[in-house]
Symmetry: C2
Subunit: 573 residues, 2 copies
């Protein structure tokens, strides 16, 4: 059951060795962002991990695929025992980093619920070089023991089934870990929230509650999936053409609703998009989805149906360039073109950063004649995260001594802390931590130490993991803004003069064909700079390069108010 952390590099550990006997909680991510969730629980050199997620990049990280947690702390401490990893649910911000980190951690056992297991194993197929994962299934109500920790998973509502909260019996007392959750008393394709179970688990007295803060800035209660279904019903009932419903591929409950409503109104269903297809296949196999045998059709069958007898379930509601909805709009989809009376439903929120892409998609669909429904016009999407009243309810049920908000941007954690205060948790018992901060927990104390483990970004770009550093990103930002201006100067080593006209290559700066004057003036200036830099035979390539970079940079800025990257290549011949 236990796995030694693989030894990587000899470095002087920056973290002092554990002095006290208290439990350490170390969030490697998820406290200053939505995503990259990964938290360590450490007691006397024994560690277990909750979640191993990825984070999608900000707009100032061009070219980056995603960011994964930094595990330097674990790699630096081969003496510590890694007991296992518990995965709370199968969203990528909780499982996405597994393929990138599991090998470095020497394949410790993973504990998770059946659906999450299925999705993790499916994704692992994309990484054929990795060894087989050691995944143990766990279910709400079962106990697992990891070293000094006895852990009882419990059912939580979220927007993917099989989401597990954790009651952790630790040497520092009982800890409740409320991962991404909401309370839904009328969920679809899931069990309703069981408040009494949470009260029951908490009844021995909870030392610490850690709880999801993603919805902390939204007043009121989150919406039930039942409401969504009630709102979608008339749309399905009245649509005269095809219904194209787009949502997150992991939103099994919404997919179930679309299927049930299609069956209710005699529509067959086409499933489009790789992620959507795989998730539905896994969920159906594990009986998280109920679909009548005759409901799902292929395009051959679909093309014989009247438009009002067909529903298309697909990905792409975030305006992703490669997803199905974008292919339809760009007329690149093999079978589907928008036609009059088609109804397109965006049954998902817009992930911050995707607003413009989604607007663009909606505009193109509207131009092609589709009728569009999206969540701002009608409640046809519910967040998977509890709102302020739900969050207060959780605190109220658990009645913890200490409270630590997790999962969300820092402003959300802080607001969540204020909510906790408003329902009676004393200010000094609330710890609003940042990534990497070592939190020490005893039965009667919690200390947010000023010790931090490394959490700087590890960026994944193509096959490269962690090889894109700040300097590379900064170069991309500069290149994106004003392009590059390359000067190739062949300098005669004897005369110190240019061998012939300097060559200029510009990309992303100005449109060369319409900028002849500017280019000619620049060439003239280059000649002057080279000849004045080599005067007196002191030929120094670096000096010429610097001179060119500075003076040409200044000249171009004066002429254009732009600052392209200036790259002088000086060749002696």
């Amino acid at each position: 059951m236990q796995s030694k952390i693989k030894y990587r590099k000899k470095r002087t550990p920056k973290i002092a060795k554990q002095a006290s006997d208290s439990l350490k909680i170390i969030p490697l991510g998820g406290l200053e962002e939505i995503g990259r969730n990964m938290t360590l629980f450490e007691y006397q050199d024994q560690i277990f991990i909750i979640d191993m997620g990825l984070q999608f990049p900000d707009e100032d990280m061009p070219g980056i695929d995603f960011i994964i947690p930094n595990i330097e702390y674990l790699l630096r401490h081969p003496e510590k025992k890694l007991l296992g990893i518990i995965i709370t649910h199968a969203h990528y911000d909780h499982i996405g980093a597994i393929p990138y980190l599991i090998d470095k951690l020497n394949y410790p056992p993973i504990y998770t619920a059946p659906l999450s297991r299925g999705i993790i194993l499916k994704r692992q197929e994309d990484f054929p070089d990795l060894k087989k994962l050691n995944i143990q299934e766990i279910n709400a109500g079962q106990n697992i023991t990891l070293g000094p920790f006895k852990i009882v998973p419990f059912h939580l509502n979220h927007n993917i089934p099989d989401t597990l909260g954790l009651a952790i019996n630790s040497p520092a007392g009982l800890i409740i870990y409320a991962t991404d959750f909401k309370f839904d008393l009328q969920p679809i394709a899931d069990k309703p929230a069981d408040l009494s179970r949470i009260i029951d688990l908490a009844s021995p007295g909870v030392t610490l509650l850690l709880a999801d803060s993603t919805g902390a800035e939204n007043p009121g209660h989150s919406i039930s999936e039942k409401t969504i279904m009630d709102n979608l019903d008339p749309v399905f009932r009245e649509a005269q053409g095809r219904i194209i419903l787009s949502t997150f591929a992991s939103l099994i409950s919404r997919i179930q609703q679309a299927i049930w409503l299609s069956e209710k109104y005699n529509r067959k269903v086409i499933i489009e998009g790789y992620a959507m297809k795989t998730n539905i296949a896994i969920a159906e196999k594990l009986k998280y989805l109920s679909i009548k045998k005759e409901t799902i059709v292929n395009w051959q069958e679909a093309n014989r149906l009247e438009p009002n007898k067909l529903t298309v379930l697909c990905t792409g509601a975030q305006g992703e360039p490669e997803a199905v909805l974008m292919k339809i709009v760009n007329r690149e989809h093999k079978y589907l073109r928008i036609q009059k009376n088609d109804v397109v439903i965006f049954s998902s929120s817009v992930v911050p950063g995707n607003e413009l892409a989604v607007q663009n998609l909606k505009d193109n669909l509207a131009k092609q004649g589709a009728k569009i429904y999206h969540y701002k016009m009608l409640d046809i999407h519910a967040s998977g995260h509890g709102y302020q009243e739900d969050l207060k309810t959780m605190i109220n049920l658990v009645k913890p001594k200490f409270f630590m908000p997790i999962h969300g941007h820092y402003s959300m954690l802080k607001t969540h802390g204020e909510l906790a205060e408003s329902v009676g948790i004393s200010t000094k018992n609330i710890v609003t931590a940042t990534n990497g901060q070592i939190i020490e927990l005893g039965k009667n104390k919690i200390i947010a130490t000023q010790k931090f483990v490394p959490t700087n970004y590890v960026m994944v770009d193509g096959l490269g993991v962690g090889d894109v550093k700040e300097v590379v990103l900064r170069a991309r930002q500069t290149l994106a803004k004003d392009g590059i201006f390359i000067i190739v100067a062949l300098v005669d080593r004897k005369t110190g003069l240019l061998h012939n006209d300097p060559q200029i290559i510009s990309q992303g700066f100005v449109y060369m064909k319409e900028s002849r004057d500017l280019i000619n003036q620049t060439k003239k200036l280059i000649k002057e700079i080279v000849s004045s830099s080599t005067r007196g035979q002191t030929f120094n390539e670096g000096y010429i390069r610097n001179n060119l970079r500075n003076k040409i940079g200044l000249f171009l800025f004066k002429k254009t108010q732009r600052r392209p990257m200036i790259l002088p290549i000086v060749i002696e011949i």
Copy 2:
């Protein structure tokens, strides 16, 4: 009063000469975006223009400052008379392109309300090379005659004072132009909406209503500024530290509220940020703002005050890198550091595309100890645009024969069209046009022709207007994603072999210091490619370059899954 359009370039006009006697309405922008509002009204070669705005760039336009309307149609038709420009209000999406276009149009007269005039003239100071503008003041209720058009401006509520709707008596009948508007029965620092005035103006019978669609996808009514003030009041009353309130610099009514609330709770006010200062100065001078003489203080006085006696009004609620709020957070502000009990109010919505920047700003403020209020937590911002019920009200008051939604993304126009249908406008009388489309209006007909004038983007980047073309943008996008990989190969013209090791310069691709293996392998491959390309003495620089570009591109993609721009520089020596 009339001004000939300056002749620019002789080109064959693509637009057939006007055949009919009907009025042409030609939107040059604003129908497929928020921004770039500019609409031409043309009758028998006489044209007047409504608004001349700019649009902020999308995220796939790195380095671009903004986009302005394309006026090729006007420049191609010097025979047409330009009667004048009417500016409906002083937001940049309605006035921002004036300094870039007015000279090319040979300074036609501009007609606008006093506050708009003040703001336009102030901005013009940033363009000292331009001639003096010819601006005539107009006010609600006054008549102006421009050629065959008799125009009566009327008062509309928006989030800047002096917003004018236009009743246009034209040869094709009465047209109502409802620019950006909402109905506010309890506005602050503005007159309430005057519904009976609109009914009165429309009473002779309206041929066409053009109306703002920005809020068309929001159900219900927009919020009154009075509600905002009621919600801000307890925040001001209870704040124990300084209040830093950030909003749009043009939101005069919100600024008025902050000043009145400060005066009510004995706070002095500091104004920070260039745009905020100038707008307040203009608005105060023109009596659109009422501020007690002793309210505004400087930092010397402010520093002597208790924290709970000070309000700071500033810009930067969109997370703009150069604005005041960002400077405060980055500890670059000369006087202001966040301290405990400071309250920061984001009294503005988040412009799509700015979500991540704003979140980042909020997080940093929260970390530094500020208490944050933003519009999602509390109604402390009201849109300037009417929601669905307001839009229906306008249609109902005006009772037009024809309806044309304007101002907004295409999906908003389409939804606005559906709203018009729902209140009784016949489908065939609703024209949902796109940018550049020539709409022909007669007293009893409206035709959305399939003729279009050019509206492709004119991008402003630094001093360059329109010189950044698609090819430049595409280069910037490629450079942003995976950087550039430059190969400098000196080839001996006699042997066809490399003179020495090829030089490699990479920016934004991989971190060179940690990629020695990759670089060495690439250099080896370059040597092979060059020698095989020059075999048999057929030395051809272009051929070598192409070979290097393709083969090295493929090699690097295989190794990294990245596609940097490959730039081979082959020099014969």
